[in-house]
Symmetry: C2
Subunit: 352 residues, 2 copies
């Protein structure tokens, strides 16, 4: 009997709605598969918490989270709380402190789903660096309030940080029968950071002669995502480039509401965190129409990470079946179903 | 009689081929329109020059260029010359020293052209900051060759630099009957630079109550480019975000080979530079199949900038007519024509 302690942070807006579906679905998976159970501990952290208490999470929040097997997060963000406050008070510290240096984002156009592209077979996996780079939070302002005012924002790229995420990408390719790892760069313009990135990528790739190493400038990559998505297999990118390309990829696979992500600490020294790619979407919050697939698929990635491969396989098949069915889908996918109806449809496939 | 002195830098690879078509087309425009003539002065600068002489352009290159009415550039880049050398030795110094702080890039899906999207009306104009930001070239390396090695890359955003490009965007919207300016930001992660960007945008937009001011995170913007391109009108973005989004946009409008750009010094204190968005494409160089439309359209933007509005209108119509015809197109657009055939077809429309 495996029992997992999961820290649940629904957060704000639609985060709360989709996480409910994810939790109900995990319960359904546990019910269908003897020998698996979950204990969910909910934390009310997020922007509403901030508006009440002046902090996004408790001071000892990271210490509390450390002992869980995984973290399941909805979305953070609320009108009235500046994004850089909400994120630097919760999401980004978790990613950085728990060395969740891989942000794994599958991008796959499922049968039954119509994406915006006329053609193109989409099935790639993005490995995004998740702890440093352009998200270092290092910088400053000078000459405040004068015409000379300026801001500096410094990206920090370490050999260790790049090497570990690149190795993860190559190891992932090997383990999953993928052929090629494409490194996203911009060394023509970013003459320190990305030149270094390219050097480390070249060195790491030499240890994986069985996997093709490939590289593209980020601007060219964005164009190729829409003209030849089938050319991508495993993609490894910096924090910012990975952020941009995976949102683009999410749109191409049928919508940001479908897209899952796993913030992984591959060494399992700290808990990993699973969250849909979409945000808190205040415009549709509370209406019961948010797409729960991204959150449920993120829960599926959590099962995989916990080593529950069989259960993960069942859940993945249930998601794919509901998408292929084409009937039960939320308005963002052109359907009329509610958040709960989509969750229910997936759970029914599991319990059969 | 207006006579313009144009500095021509064909550069490398297909740059040389497409610039020839652009020059022949400008000659055709001059012939069709009495009172207009050009003097072209060619400079052999670029990567071949670098391989021979160890420099991308002459030491006094910028001084020489300063006296021209405009610069017409093909593409720079060659296998064997690292990109960061070729670009920091020619393209980027020209943009920065001549205060070409606006990189103007129209993105338009022409009738007759099939883009990769199933649907969507595309007609936007991107105003990309072109002298600072993520392209400041500021940074360094530390602990070289050790496991602790790291690189810093500092983006520099000045109030003056942001204000002028944002004002240009709003003024452009006003002059051209456009309704909305969308600012691209990432202030949730880039907690100094983009927070400052947002402040300046809010301040500048207050001076233009007649134009809608709108803002999007760069990741969301990339997704919306493919799901709702018609929502974009004028877009203003930093150097890097503008680079990524305009390559994506170029792909959406039917291919990077079609896309033009104008590096503008709006005050006309220094010459502006016109260049296609595509690169030197060594893989197809010398085969006579490169798409010349991006280069010819860039020449059209040069005519507009020089104040030759009527001639610019004629050339734009000729380009649109050939695209609408659908017969004469290069292989990148699914056709069988050569670079010269496409150029010829456009020139024929002008001379009629
Ligand atoms: C909310 C934001 C800081 C975050 C990011 O940029 O990492 C989000 O866009 C994501 O992709 O998870
Ligand atoms: C060649 C490169 C430095 C350049 C840029 O990034 O500005 C190019 O991609 C462009 O868009 O003009």
């Amino acid at each position: 009997m495996s029992r997992y302690n999961i820290a649940v942070i629904p957060g704000d807006g639609v985060g709360i709605e989709v996480i409910e579906e994810g939790l109900a679905t995990l319960e359904a998976v546990a019910k269908a598969h003897g020998g698996l159970s979950f204990e969910f501990t909910r934390f009310p952290w997020g922007c509403r918490y901030y508006l009440e208490k002046g902090k996004m999470m408790d001071e000892d929040g990271l210490k509390i989270l450390r002992d869980f097997d995984a973290i399941y997060l909805g979305a953070v963000g609320f009108p009235g709380v500046p994004d850089h406050i909400s994120l630097w008070g919760l999401l980004l510290p978790i990613r950085q402190e728990f060395e969740q240096y891989v942000n794994l984002r599958p991008i796959k156009l499922f049968p039954g789903v119509t994406g915006p592209l006329r053609s193109g077979n989409i099935d790639m996996i993005c490995v995004r660096e998740n702890t440093e780079g352009e998200y270092a939070g290092v910088g400053g302002r000078m000459f405040n309030g004068t015409p000379q005012e300026l801001a500096l924002q410094t990206a920090v790229f370490t050999r260790r940080g790049m090497e570990r995420v690149m190795r993860f990408a190559f190891d992932y390719a090997r383990k999953n029968g993928r052929q090629k790892v494409t490194s996203i760069t911009k060394s023509n313009a970013c003459n320190y950071s990305m030149v270094f990135w390219d050097e480390v990528f070249a060195a790491v790739s030499r240890d994986y002669p069985d996997i093709r190493a490939d590289q593209l400038l980020v601007d060219a990559a964005a164009a190729l995502f829409v003209t030849r998505p089938e050319r991508f297999d495993v993609v490894v990118a910096s924090n910012l480039f990975g952020d941009i390309l995976t949102d683009l990829g999410a749109a191409l696979q049928g919508g940001i509401g479908l897209a899952p992500s796993a913030n992984l600490n591959p060494e399992r020294k700290y808990p990993s965190m699973f969250e849909p790619v979409h945000g808190s979407a205040p415009d549709i919050a509370g209406k019961g129409v948010a797409n729960p697939v991204g959150a449920i698929w993120s829960a599926q990635m959590m099962l995989e990470h916990l080593g529950e491969v069989e259960a993960a396989g069942v859940l993945m098949k249930a998601i794919a079946d509901v998408l292929a069915g084409g009937e039960v889908r939320t308005p963002d996918m052109g359907g009329k179903s509610t958040t709960t109806q989509v969750g229910e449809a997936i759970r029914q496939k599991i319990l059969i």
